[in-house]
């Protein structure tokens, strides 16, 4: 019994150490400025203030960046998941020449470093006159999001028993009818989990946003917030921590309500490969 308690205390100490940076981010964001530079630092804020959040929303372009990120990630997720769902259906359930090569290509690009693609993509998007637009980022994000989504959905699709579809076909359904009525409902949890991963991936992306967008109008959160750090004369940590917390809000929501979908996605894509 005592051993069990000791083990629990040990386990939780490790967990809390891992989570400490995030706790400290939260604490710093609600501390008044004068308390921030006190020695020794207070572990819990003596007075809780939301002034930094207020300043973030009223004095900086944070909301603009936030909105850009919402549009960008939603658009990317929508485009990528739509293409990948029918693509994965085709890859798993149809036979034609080149199918294996394509599956190989998907896995290959899933592992491909983005610095290889970023230079030609940059040139291409400049030539198309799309630089500094959110559209250019949606296009660039498909380079990593589409192989990823295809790979995830492919293994979700492979988990649906083929008999269900055959039964519907025997009953006189067309292939597409069976897809809509039999496969899609079965695939829904997989689609949700793929959409969540794609959204998070786009929400967090930094390199393409750094290279392709150089105007505050279409800058997403990642580069926008980093710009706040670089361009300010003296770094205001509490403001930056408030921005970090706000930036993680969508994630916290996913974690609170949809965590089972995340774990499922991990099982399909991360481990099996």
């Amino acid at each position: 019994m005592a051993r069990k308690i000791l083990f629990n205390i040990f386990a939780w100490m490790v967990v809390l150490m891992v989570a400490f940076p995030l706790f400290w981010m939260l604490v710093t964001s609600v501390k008044p400025q004068f308390e921030l530079f006190r020695r020794p630092p207070s572990m819990l804020p003596e007075t809780v203030t939301f002034e930094h959040y207020w300043r973030l929303l009223s004095d900086t372009n944070f909301l603009g960046y936030f909105w850009n990120s919402v549009i960008l990630s939603t658009a990317t997720t929508f485009v990528v998941v739509t293409i990948a769902t029918i693509g994965a259906y085709s890859l798993v359930r149809f036979r034609y020449r080149g199918r294996e090569t394509l599956a190989f290509l998907v896995l290959f690009t899933y592992l491909l470093p983005s610095v290889v693609l970023i230079l030609p993509l940059y040139l291409m998007l400049v030539e198309l006159g799309l630089s500094n637009t959110i559209t250019s980022l949606v296009i660039a994000y498909t380079t990593f999001a589409l192989p990823y989504a295809l790979w995830l959905l492919r293994s979700f699709m492979a988990g649906i028993p083929e008999d269900l579809e055959s039964a519907a076909l025997v009953d006189g359904a067309t292939r597409l009818g069976a897809f809509k009525d039999v496969i899609l409902p079965q695939l829904l949890p997989g689609i949700i989990s793929t959409a969540l991963f794609t959204f998070i991936l786009s929400w967090n992306e930094y390199l393409y946003a750094l290279v392709l967008v150089n105007s505050d109008e279409s800058r997403p959160l990642t580069t926008g917030v980093m710009n706040m750090l670089i361009s300010s004369f003296n770094i205001e940590w509490s403001l930056l921590m408030a921005a970090s917390v706000m930036m993680s809000v969508p994630l916290i929501i996913v974690f609170a309500f949809l965590q089972s979908y995340l774990t499922r996605g991990f099982g399909a894509g991360g481990v099996k490969g």
């Binding site: 940076p21 020695r39 085709s90 290959f108 192989p147 929400w203 959160l221 490969g273």
Partner: protein
């Protein structure tokens, strides 16, 4: 006769099906060609030119870029930094990840809460992670220096990111913190599928917890660990955001890995062609790993 007709009908149906299959894969193929295959080919093509980034004017230089980069010291120091970073952060991820998975596999209090907390660093943006760690590392007001001084571990504040070897160690540690949850989740899923009877039998045979770990748990985890190590090695090798944002490759070039070198060459030194050559070389280095991983995954499937 009827038999033949049925067969003909079947092949007709099959042909229609494969047409439908091609139709459904068409959007994927189109997008792949436009944003992946075409850029990939033009990356190789660009590397044969000397291109000034702001004007995008180029002149053919053939393989000169490659000749120059292989004889330049910067490529080799970057490759070295890249390998140190990858091996360092990957080993920590594996050790912490397996350890944490073993802990979370036990029935501890509030297990699902603990699991969420562990998972969180993996899902937050690298930008957030870097900002938080820069604040923790802050030389004057950072909590890390304060805690270490209070504990008597150090006498003076440490410069975590501005000097060597501290910068490399810090980057490796932050990388391990950010990415070890991936290992935890993957290993945890595998642990849950090890049959209990194996442990029961070992217990009856008198094996202690350590012997049980080495005789049962580790062999059972071998497969999944190989996959995780390959996947994470590829991902860590090409990591850009974390290192770029934490140190920018500094001090001087001591944490400058190959992806950072590509970025610098293209957008700070304005040598787009040279940067492409670096990118292509980097891809060639990774190719071996990628092909091994792909072959393994494919053979597992069939």
């Amino acid at each position: 006769m009827r038999h033949i007709m049925a067969k003909q009908q079947q092949t007709l149906l099959e042909r229609r099906y494969s047409m439908l299959g091609l139709f459904l894969i068409a959007p994927t193929v189109l997008v792949f060609c436009a944003v992946i295959v075409y850029p990939l080919i033009s990356a190789v093509y660009l590397s044969l030119f000397k291109i000034f980034t702001p004007t995008l004017e180029g002149s053919w230089v053939g393989l000169d870029n490659y000749r120059v980069l292989l004889s330049k010291g910067e490529f080799w120091t970057s490759l070295r930094a890249n390998l140190i970073w990858t091996v360092g952060t990957l080993s920590l991820q594996i050790i912490f990840g397996v350890g944490m998975a073993l802990v979370l596999h036990q029935n501890i209090w509030f297990r699902s809460l603990a699991r969420s907390l562990i998972l969180f660093p993996y899902f937050i943006s690298t930008v957030v992670a870097v900002l938080v760690w820069k604040w923790l590392f802050n030389d004057l007001y950072g909590i890390l220096n304060h805690l270490m001084i209070t504990a008597g571990l150090i006498d003076w504040p440490i410069d975590y990111l501005g000097s060597m070897p501290n910068a490399m160690i810090s980057v490796i540690l932050v990388g391990a913190w950010k990415y070890f949850p991936f290992v935890v989740i993957a290993v945890l899923a595998r642990l849950q599928s090890i049959p209990d009877q194996l442990y029961e039998a070992a217990k009856i045979d008198g094996a202690g917890p350590i012997a049980r770990f080495f005789d049962i748990t580790l062999p059972q985890l071998r497969e999944v660990l190989v996959v995780i190590i390959m996947l994470r090695a590829i991902w860590d090798f090409k990591e850009f955001d974390l290192i770029f944002l934490l140190t920018g490759g500094g001090p001087v070039t001591s944490t400058q890995t190959l992806p950072l070198l590509v970025y610098k060459e293209a957008f700070a030194l304005n040598q787009m062609g040279m940067a492409s050559a670096y990118a292509v070389i980097m891809m060639l280095i990774m190719l071996g790993f990628m092909l091994v991983y792909i072959r393994r995954t494919r053979s597992e499937e069939s």
